[in-house]
Amino acid sequence: MTEERLIISRKTNNKFFLMIAIGVVLLIAGIIIAAMSGGHQAEGHGEAAAAGHEAAHWTKRLYMNLWLNNVYFTGIALVGVFFVAVQYVAYAGWSVLIKRIPEAMGYYLPIGGAVMLITFLLGGHDIFHWTHDYLYNQFLEDGVTPNPQYDPIIAGKAPYLNFWFFLIRMVAYFVLWILFFNWLRRNSINEDLHGGTDYYHKSIRISAMFLVVFGVTSSTSAWDWVLSIDTHWFSTMFGWYVFASWWVSGLAVITLAVIILKQNGYLKMVNANHLHDLGKFVFAFSIFWTYIWFSQFMLIWYANIPEESIYFIERLGGNGGHFKWIFFVNLLINFAFPFLVLMTRDAKRQMIMLKIVTIAILIGHWLDFYLMMMPGTLRTDAGIGFIEIGTTLIFLGVFLITFTKGLAKASLVPVNHPFVEESVHHHV
């Protein structure tokens, strides 16, 4: 088995930096536009401004965008590590040739952790309603007058949702994830250098441990970072829902990266059979996401309990129908489109079909996260404009730089993996 080294040319790298630069320009333009029209908006929303302390400000929109994109890209990076772990534990042979791609996705995790920490510390009040101290005091300062802003529901969640515990959890997730990512990656690279099956067996044990950690943290991080935005609301499906969204986006990134690398002359031994399996993954987990989505929606719709159905009201008729189109586009682009397009065997084996579908899914699941976060925070002030596109481009550029840098650090073919021969001869 021969090594294959990815070489990122200066030109490619410049493209990524250009992407970031365009993102910054768009973001600044968006912020200027938002800041200029800010006063105008407050006039139009006099009622809202009078009722609330949280008149929408461009900083809030910026923090929400940072949060949205960071949760999205961190999830994708995490799914890379998860994918590798699953393949190890399943003793999978087919995926060995493409294994380095999900592995390199994990390199974004430290950046994701830093951005998340900073965004939370700076914009926590804008993102999370529960971070406001006044919600928790039953009485005003004199100790007798009831506090009109006291929120018994949120106060009841204080043992879990409080600033310090939240911060500790966030740090703990990232420490654990990065630890396991480094551990797996180190074994994988040492395997390339020294060979033998010891690294393989060790990786299986590390992966098994990581899966346990991931099983818990993927759910709790979804509660922390996404569910707690709608603090009053709760859903037992939510951990699964966010996981499904992350997982299918991650699979789409892996598939897309494999195709782009292949089209640029790398991954010579990867053929239609490997693409077929990746296509099946993308196809199946699009349906899985829909299944989770519907399981959550139908029970809430059927029971029609106000405290539960408020979540979907905000996304359908509520907020002046502001999010209605995203609600339906979300289903079309993430379910109907991949379901119908990737149904046949031939479609899963063709790069062009897979490319179209994976790009659509990546846009679709970005919208999915948008739909999870914006109605509870920005409400009718949410939009998709320069700020959104700019922030996403910046994150995409940073993700691509770290990802390709990580990919270039090691051979694209794990030369000494015990199953590499099986992967080369993979046949579906």
Binding site: F294, M298, W301, H427
Partner: protein, 174 residues
């Protein structure tokens, strides 16, 4: 009516795959190859066309979906409208689980039934076992001998030169 077959017996998978390619390249039509287990890649070398069963599955599924939707909309919307849980008579989300189940059921049953019909698989189906060892540890390549041909030495040579450990003749009543 009887038909005559020449059977090449092989004991190695790779030799067999190579032999199939060579025999077909020599212009001989292979009737069937029997093996104790599915062999990867044998479909390609044998030139077996891809199954059209998935198309049947799709249309059976489409039928199941349409039937389920029609049934529920007609029953609950027109034939016997009832208010359930304060929902409208035709409440689409509530119909999805039944629609999903019937889609899967129809497409699965449709596939199995079509498979039985196409392969003529029924309790009275008589299987011509050319060589019982093909259920154990040997691979058997069967070539139909054209009517009127009596000399099979050419076929014999072709098979033997491609690694057959044995070449037998067998007459089968059709």
């Amino acid at each position: 009516m009887t038909k005559k077959f020449v059977l090449g017996i092989y004991d190695d998978e790779d030799v067999l795959l190579q032999a199939i390619e060579n025999v077909r390249a020599a212009g001989t039509k292979i009737y069937e190859v029997f093996s104790p287990y599915p062999i990867h890649g044998i479909d390609d070398v044998l030139g077996v066309k891809r199954s059209r069963l998935p198309i049947v599955a799709f249309f059976c599924g489409l039928f199941g979906m349409s039937f389920a939707l029609w049934m529920q909309i007609w029953m609950l919307g027109f034939d016997w409208p009832m208010i359930i849980g304060g929902k409208p008579h035709i409440a689409l989300p509530a119909f999805i689980p039944v629609t999903f189940e019937l889609t899967v059921l129809c497409s699965a049953f449709g596939m199995v039934i079509t498979f039985f019909i196409v392969t003529k698989l029924k309790p009275s189906f008589k299987v011509n076992v050319f060589d019982k060892r093909s259920t154990d540890d040997k691979y058997v390549m069967a070539i139909e001998v054209k009517e009127g041909v009596t000399d099979i030495s050419a076929l014999n040579n072709l098979l033997r030169s491609n690694g057959a450990i044995e070449v037998n003749e067998k007459e089968v009543i059709k």
